[in-house]
């Protein structure tokens, strides 16, 4: 995939954010979904090993629906980022999750685009975009969050150690 295409795709998604309604990404098995569910620490919910505040951002989070079904939220709306930063403040609370339910036959997953608090019997909270990974990264690193992956120290260290291809000493082919 060409770099320009990815950048324009990301820009399109950012522009459409104003509508507070999820876009389709053309992914097989995707369904644009707006749903209420409780945000839970997956390890706690599945194994019973629970820690304070759903792991404070260090544990994967999922949506627990009223029918007892659990779906992992694996992605937010930032490039190459998960949704933990967007969801951690809603630990064990109900939200309206807006995004894509992807019913892959090997494993169902959710991609989060917008979220708002949805406490039972109370007014719903304000919508916010699921782009807090980039925002937090920007705050912590003082560089634009949109291209965080090009500048992140942990990424640089991993690539320095094993190379772009993951095999020490092996150089990528000219593209």
């Amino acid at each position: 995939m060409k770099k320009s295409f990815i950048i324009s795709a990301v820009a399109t998604i950012a522009l459409s954010s104003a509508a507070w309604a999820a876009d389709g990404w053309g992914i097989k098995n995707e369904k644009i979904t707006r749903t209420e569910a409780k945000v839970v620490d997956i390890a706690c919910e599945v194994t019973g090993n629970c820690v304070a505040n759903c792991g404070s951002g260090k544990r994967q989070l999922g949506l627990l629906f009223d029918n007892g079904k659990l779906v992992p939220v694996v992605k937010n709306n930032d490039p190459f980022a998960g949704a933990t930063v967007d969801l951690i403040s809603f630990c064990n609370k109900r939200i309206v999750a807006d995004g894509l339910m992807i019913s892959h036959p090997k494993m169902p997953i959710f991609q989060l685009q917008f979220k708002r608090a949805a406490p039972k019997g109370k007014p719903k909270g304000k919508w916010s975009g699921a782009n807090w990974f980039g925002k937090e990264w920007e705050k912590a690193n003082g560089k634009p969050g949109g291209e965080w992956f090009q500048h992140d120290k942990r990424v640089k260290a991993a690539i320095a150690k094993e190379g772009v291809l993951g095999v020490p000493g092996l150089k990528p082919p000219a593209q």
């Binding site: 060409k2 990404w25 792991g55 544990r59 694996v74 992807i102 892959h104 942990r154 291809l165």
Partner: protein
């Protein structure tokens, strides 16, 4: 469970499976396969395996997307713990073995169509074996 009780539960629309899920006990398993980025692999957005996709898989792992093992049995196992460290968001050990071919011992929980794996030990780490860059270059860019 008594047959009559099941019949009543079914009639009332109560999920009989619910009872079993409450008392989830893990299964001891040995899983061999490739460490992959869950998102790129399942969405089939790009070629998401091996050396071609290694850089992207590092980005996603550091970005906090769950990391999984694509088992030789064809199943996807989402990793929730690695060797005593039960963090699963940008876990440094997992980042360090991204795209590698591994064999792990772990505890498996299956819930709502997802295989959740708690890795007790990375028993074998062969490094990156799947040299997909020969065919695909580096994906993306």
């Amino acid at each position: 469970m008594h047959k009559k009780l099941i019949a009543v539960a079914v009639a009332l629309g109560i999920g009989v499976w619910g009872f079993a899920a409450e008392a989830a006990t893990p299964k001891r398993v040995k899983v061999s396969g490739e460490i992959i980025d869950t998102w790129c692999y399942l969405t089939e957005i790009m070629f998401a395996e091996g050396s071609a996709h290694h850089k992207c898989a590092i980005w996603c792992a550091v970005g906090g997307v769950p990391v999984s093992i694509k088992g030789k049995d064809g199943k996807i196992y989402m990793v929730l713990r690695v060797e005593g460290d039960d963090t699963s968001v940008a876990n440094p050990k997992i980042v360090s073995i991204q795209s590698h071919e591994v064999t792990v011992d772990g505890d498996l929980y299956v819930r709502d169509g997802v295989n959740y794996l708690l890795v007790n030990k990375v028993a074998d780490d062969k490094g990156v074996i799947n040299l997909t860059h020969k065919k695909h270059g580096v994906v993306p860019f």
